[in-house]
């Protein structure tokens, strides 16, 4: 952590960045995002295993973009999200100083190509817990999966925390808020919840960086990240593409191969 704070201090003092975004102590053992706009506010920064949130969700906000160049303490998931956001033209290449923290080491990356190179060094692996949960789902039969999700989704109150915490859900005007025409009912009743989660999953297939924040954000503990991470894994299996690895947009659903293989279309 010392090295990150030191470097952040230099960047801030030399005026190279207007703010530093990292983690600070929150309630109990939790960690919360922290913006330091003066060197004196840097002491609050912490870095440990409890720092898990994908901070990329903040850097696309208008308030943050207005600040100017910002340095971000970036875990691998944050790095992937930032790279994907740059590929999707939501962030300008070079608009951030990325302080990559992987396994304790700090590396400064300030362009999409540097991020791409850095991310290519290590293969993306899904954590064991989510992998096991996805395998459990896979092992169920159709009726069991239906019952499982109906039970889980019955608790959803459409607070949209899962949407709002996701760095890849950046649209100012989300289709969930559209009412002309209204594709998805706003109410959190059976069909409203089901369609919301189906649409969210489809919108993130091929774009999800597998941070798991959506599941962590849910106040009633619905594992919604299994839907999006599952869809991302499907895209990878089917088309060999992954979100957050290329500086140039590589979105599986906006391209095709003439020999894409399936076995269900009659």
């Amino acid at each position: 952590m010392e090295a990150v704070i030191q470097r952040a201090k230099e960047l801030l003092e030399q005026g190279e960045v207007k703010a530093v975004l990292g983690y600070a102590k929150g309630t109990g053992s939790a960690r919360r995002p922290h913006f330091a706009r003066q060197a004196g506010q840097l002491d609050k920064l912490v870095m440990d295993e409890a720092c898990v949130q994908n901070l990329a969700v903040y850097v696309t906000k208008h308030e943050v973009k207005k600040l100017g160049k910002v340095a971000v303490v970036a875990l691998p998931v944050t790095q992937r999200a930032i790279l994907q956001l740059m590929a999707e033209r939501q962030l300008r290449d070079g608009s951030l100083a990325i302080l990559a923290v992987d396994d304790g080491a700090v590396k400064e990356l300030d362009s999409a190509s540097a991020l791409e190179e850095h991310l290519a060094l290590k293969a993306q692996v899904l954590n064991a817990k989510d992998k096991a949960s996805l395998a459990d789902l896979e092992a169920m039969d159709q009726g069991q999966r239906w019952a499982y999700w109906q039970k889980e989704l019955s608790r959803c109150m459409k607070c949209y925390a899962c949407r709002n915490t996701c760095p890849m859900c950046y649209c100012d005007h989300c289709t969930m808020d559209c009412n002309r025409p209204q594709w998805v009912p706003v109410a959190s009743h059976g069909i409203g919840n089901l369609e919301y989660h189906m649409v969210r999953t489809m919108h993130l297939a091929g774009r999800c960086v597998e941070c798991g924040d959506c599941g962590r954000a849910c106040p009633v503990g619905i594992p919604v990240h299994l839907l999006t991470i599952g869809a991302e894994e499907t895209v990878h299996e089917l088309f060999g593409q992954r979100a957050g690895h290329k500086a140039k947009l590589d979105y599986a659903l906006s391209t095709f191969k003439t020999d894409d293989k399936e076995s269900f279309i009659r």
Binding site: Q142, R145, W146, A147, G190, L227, G230, I265, R266
Partner: protein, 110 residues
């Protein structure tokens, strides 16, 4: 059976399939021209990818995928189209009403 005409398979939003189920359809056919035969060059290639991902998502959600049929039938294949529709209609009739889904449509609405 109700037909919803769109200009190209590329125009088939998966929301249309969800809405059909929402409106109480017990089965849905999603169909269009064969790959390599697209009037708009690549609409069906894009659609194919989307269907692949959509189908898997629906399976993960536990939707009964025997009720959704994907097919390539062009406008010049009248006989094939009639045959497909007959087959699918028989199949869906045999499955009966999609009660699991209908229960959800009513759930939580006072």
């Amino acid at each position: 059976m109700r037909v919803l005409r769109v200009p190209c398979t590329g125009r088939i939003d998966y929301m249309m399939v969800l809405k059909a189920l929402h409106k109480g359809a017990d089965g849905v056919i999603v169909s269009g021209c064969h790959p390599n035969d697209c009037h708009y060059t690549s609409g069906n290639y894009h659609a194919r990818r989307r269907w692949m991902v959509f189908k898997k998502m629906m399976e993960v959600m536990g939707v009964d995928m025997r009720r959704i049929t994907f097919s390539w039938v062009s406008a010049a294949e009248g006989a094939r189209w009639a045959q497909l529709v007959n087959e699918v209609t028989d199949q869906v009739r045999a499955l009966g009403p999609y009660t699991e889904f209908r229960q959800v449509i009513g759930a939580g609405i006072e």
